[in-house]
Point group: C2
Chain length 320, copies 2
């Protein structure tokens, strides 16, 4: 009997979305009450049975998207926001739309790399369910730091992704940054770590935000006790503009010779670029410099960002 609920939901969804019946009519057809139908439909929606997708007409699309798409060769989704919204509300909206945009891209047998940070945390809260088979969520970079193991925060994000897509979750239990490059080297030879690295090498989708060194509200990485005073000084005095998954880069997208990267735990940029679908989510105009670097480095195939950032991205285009 419990079984029939799922199939009722399917039936209701067909009648409602594909045949334009009213809930009332559907209720009579299923011999139940209208309110039950309402609930069946919302269950159908957030169990991923019903997929709603918006395909912006690539040609006639809003000029903003067109310009960014042309300039950086990424598939861009600009999230409309009003400027009365504060930082947190904007993030929430971007995250919601990002989550729903990602949904349709996820498929069975996918290996999905997920970074962590405030952006990804927000996205993870808005994921819509979609049942897949044999998918894996793999953590892109370590989360431990000097104060905590960072486990709960990062693993909450991972867990949400896992349960939304019915996927196995593979955590990456190392610190965000090693204190000594040698330790990283040693760990990278451990078989437990190699298992994760191999998964990462086979990723079909990667999802990440960007950190920007000069952001008004600095990213977790710069503020959360992951780096010590010396490291921060080195960063401030170099020409590094931002990071993706703890790996730093300059405005022109280059990353060679940045010593800190020898201690960070995310996939190096060349490896990241191998991933077929690389989704970058950005909210907040102060991340603009980091974002420019990431785009210059060709790290993203898909970019989801708020309207204000999109404007800044095209406006001051030449400058740093």
């Amino acid at each position: 009997m419990m079984q029939s609920r799922q199939s009722d939901a399917l039936r209701a969804a067909q009648l409602y979305y594909l045949q334009d019946l009213t809930m009332d009519a559907i209720a009579r057809e299923l011999r139940t009450s209208r309110s039950t139908v309402s609930r069946l439909l919302s269950a159908a929606r957030d169990s991923g049975l019903v997929q709603i997708q918006i395909r912006s007409p690539l040609d006639t699309g809003p000029e903003l998207e067109g310009m960014i798409r042309a300039e950086y060769k990424v598939d861009v989704h600009v999230v409309p926001v009003v400027d009365t919204l504060n930082e947190a509300e904007t993030l929430d909206r971007v995250a919601m739309q990002a989550a729903r945009t990602i949904g349709p891209l996820v498929d069975s047998n996918a290996i999905i790399g997920v970074a962590w940070g405030s952006t990804l945390s927000a996205v993870s809260r808005h994921l819509t369910r979609k049942i897949t088979h044999d998918s894996v969520i793999v953590q892109l970079n370590g989360a431990g730091n000097m104060q905590t193991t960072g486990i709960t925060y990062a693993s909450d994000i991972m867990r949400r992704f896992g349960s939304a897509y019915g996927a196995r979750v593979e955590q990456f239990p190392v610190p965000a940054f090693f204190d000594h490059a040698a330790t990283k080297k040693a760990m990278w030879n451990e078989r437990s770590v190699q298992r994760i690295l191999e998964l990462q090498a086979r990723m079909s989708i990667a999802i990440f935000g960007v950190g920007s060194v000069d952001a008004d509200y600095p990213s977790h990485v710069y503020a959360g006790g992951y780096l010590d005073e010396d490291d921060l000084n080195v960063l401030a005095n170099s020409d590094v503009v931002g990071d993706v998954a703890t790996v730093f880069f300059r405005a022109d997208g280059s990353s060679d010779g940045i010593t800190l990267n020898a201690r960070s735990t995310g996939p190096d940029l060349a490896q990241l670029r191998q991933v077929r679908r690389r989704i970058c989510v950005v909210s907040g105009a102060s991340k603009i410099n980091g974002l420019r670097g990431a785009l210059a480095a060709g790290l993203a195939t898909d970019l989801i960002l708020d309207e204000a950032s999109a404007r800044r991205l095209v406006r001051f285009d030449g400058l740093g």
Copy 2:
């Protein structure tokens, strides 16, 4: 300024479907009235900007779909209908759901073969718009007969497909059946005809119904004056069970030695089977024998049919 309507619609759609705002809130954001937003959204829906799709969970799906899928190796969509509906209402529902199921499958650069008949006519009336580039709609078989040229009826169907998908329409201006096989042979060497045949050979999608010889309400082909008395007698006394696009076949799916086929204008079965996606739409339980033959012949990759027919299809499975 006219331009802004399209982009308002996109924006409204994002806010409504991806961010769950109410129309009221969207109206304030766009500085317009709620009713305008309601209209923008419905414009967005039926211009194909918003795509709603239902993915039945292949495993846990209703047993009926599962059984058919397993038995005939087709991707099946059972359209739920109540048994109080009459033939015409059922057709309408099946057609609406078929139209919306087809939508997401159509892509740019597609060559779409379309048959004609009461089923396809109904489907064509319910198509939802979707803008594609360089797609072509090509007519699968001729439509002329003894009384009329059949042009308007068939071409209305074609035109609707064309305008729904923004595609070029290629008609096939020959009779449904030639009187003499020799005439067909001659025509098939004409360059104007060969142009169509070449398009058909490159189809990426074919959409058709089935005719069933013993249907209660006979298909157009059997009733519309396309065949003469003698032809119908021959059919009745042979073991032919039905046709797809004027090409006849037997219950086991074979079609060799059916002389009428030398005079019919649709693609032969072997050629049809080359098409990547072959969508068969069936409404009305009396077409069941024709449908069995078509499935036995492996003509469809996707089957959309009403629930009652689906039941009959699995129930009496062994019999003819």
